[in-house]
């Protein structure tokens, strides 16, 4: 399944992006890679200290296969709010495309980079700063 998933997602090298000078390290995320997840929102957790998007990603090469649930970590609620997000910006069933820096250990999780909604427009009002 994981191999099939790898064919589904686009993995792109990018310039090294420094994680936040934060209260904890983000070394678990591989910031040299970007993965694009195209799927359906299962849940949008507007929670401290981080918000999370749970997104179900189907395998287009195997429609009968079960979807894989990815966990996408974002900043805190007020940090998102400052960039145009609201608690209702996403809801279960929304079709989205999310770009993440994946977990290094191969589990289906990642650090948020950007997202577009079903209308193709970026979610939030402020684009992610290029690195």
């Amino acid at each position: 399944m994981r191999r099939a998933l790898k064919t589904l997602i686009g993995v792109a090298a990018m310039l090294m992006a420094s994680a936040a000078f934060a209260h904890h390290s983000h070394a678990m995320f591989d910031q040299s890679k970007q993965v694009t997840l195209v799927g359906t929102v299962k849940d949008f957790e507007w929670s401290n200290p981080h918000c999370w998007i749970q997104v179900l990603v189907a395998d287009p090469n195997d429609p009968k296969a079960a979807s894989v649930e990815w966990s996408v970590e974002l900043d805190s609620p007020i940090a998102l709010f400052r960039r145009g997000w609201k608690p209702a910006s996403l809801k279960a069933g929304d079709k989205i495309s999310v770009v993440v820096n994946p977990l290094r250990d191969g589990r289906p999780g990642g650090q948020f980079v950007s997202a577009t909604g079903p209308d193709g427009k970026p979610i939030g009002t402020v684009p992610v700063a290029p690195n």
Binding site: A17, S18, A19, A20, F21, A22, H23, H24, S25, H26, A27, M28, Q31, E45, S47, N48, P49, H50, W52, Q54, E69, W70, S71, E73, L74, D75, S76, P77, I78, A79, L80, F81, R82, R83, W85, V100, N101, L103, R104, D105, R107, P108, G109, Q111, F112, V113, S114, G124, V128, A129, P130, N131
Partner: protein, 274 residues
């Protein structure tokens, strides 16, 4: 009304007038005391985090500033303490190398960060009064800086506290803050989000000079003194910028450990996925 009763009434009225006059004078003096204080209202953030993305990636300018801060925040230790620092740094490096995917937790998520708590993510707000200046952070920390002329409590009434004991005085528009009785340690930034925690002596002492440079910028000059551990005091200038996209302070420390997705397990930050 007897003469005695008349005198009693007059005394009561006179007393009332005197109290009222006293209250008015007190109120006027207090208004004047407030008027002498600088206006630090608004919401502020460390300049490193200006323009940070939703995924917590710093802006290019934030990365540059962050690297400069990392360099500036490395103290010159005495020979004895250099050994302690080297040991602590070696232990941190070994912990990172052992499990790079689960980095050590040098801050506890969902726990308000300790003193000085001024060079971290989140937003800050000041409450400036004649008697006390209070610093509130969205990360959950609250600092009380007493400016009513009091001194630190005597030594036998102090103990290591998360925020220590701070007293301040105004030198014009600059608040000069003296802090003692913090936890006897400092955090030396090594990499983003990773710090070497160095134990310090019982002479650890901090002096801050805080001022608003202009409407949109504040500077906090932090001097760390410890004649036993440091070969010379460490001076760091932390700059804050005014937040212009929101005026809402939200306590981001309201996490539920039961549902925390980055729990600390065996001293390491982990990530929970279904």
């Amino acid at each position: 009304m007897t003469r005695q009763a008349t005198v009693a009434v007059m005394l009561t009225l006179l007393g009332g007038c005197m109290c009222s006059a006293q209250a008015q004078t007190s109120s006027k003096e207090r208004i004047e005391a407030f008027a002498k204080l600088p206006d630090w209202s608004g919401v502020w953030e460390w300049d490193v985090h200006v323009g940070q993305s939703e995924g917590q990636q710093l802006s290019p300018e934030g990365q540059r500033k962050g690297q400069a801060y990392v360099a500036a925040m490395h103290p010159a230790f005495t020979a004895e303490w250099q050994v302690k620092y080297d040991q602590a740094k070696k232990a941190l490096d070994a912990a990172v190398a052992a499990e790079p995917d689960q980095p050590p937790a040098t801050f506890q998520p969902c726990v308000a960060p300790p003193f000085p708590a001024t060079a971290l993510p989140g937003m800050y707000e000041w409450r400036v009064t004649p008697e006390e200046t209070t610093l509130i952070s969205t990360m959950g920390s609250v600092r009380h800086i007493y400016t009513d002329g009091r001194a630190h409590p005597p030594k036998d009434e102090l103990w290591p506290m998360v925020m220590g004991d701070s007293v301040g005085r105004w030198e014009g528009d600059t608040l000069v803050v003296d802090t003692v009785a913090t936890k006897r340690q400092i955090r030396v930034p090594e990499h983003p989000g990773l710090y070497t925690i160095v134990p310090m002596s019982d002479q650890l002492h901090f002096v801050e000079r805080i001022r608003m440079v202009n409407r949109n910028e504040m500077q906090i000059q932090l001097r760390t003194e410890d004649p036993v551990a440091l070969a010379k005091p460490l001076e760091v200038m932390v700059t804050w910028e005014r937040v212009t996209d929101t005026n809402r302070m939200v306590n981001e420390n309201e996490c539920d450990p039961a549902t925390e997705r980055n729990p600390v397990v065996n001293g390491r930050i982990t990530t929970v996925v279904p």
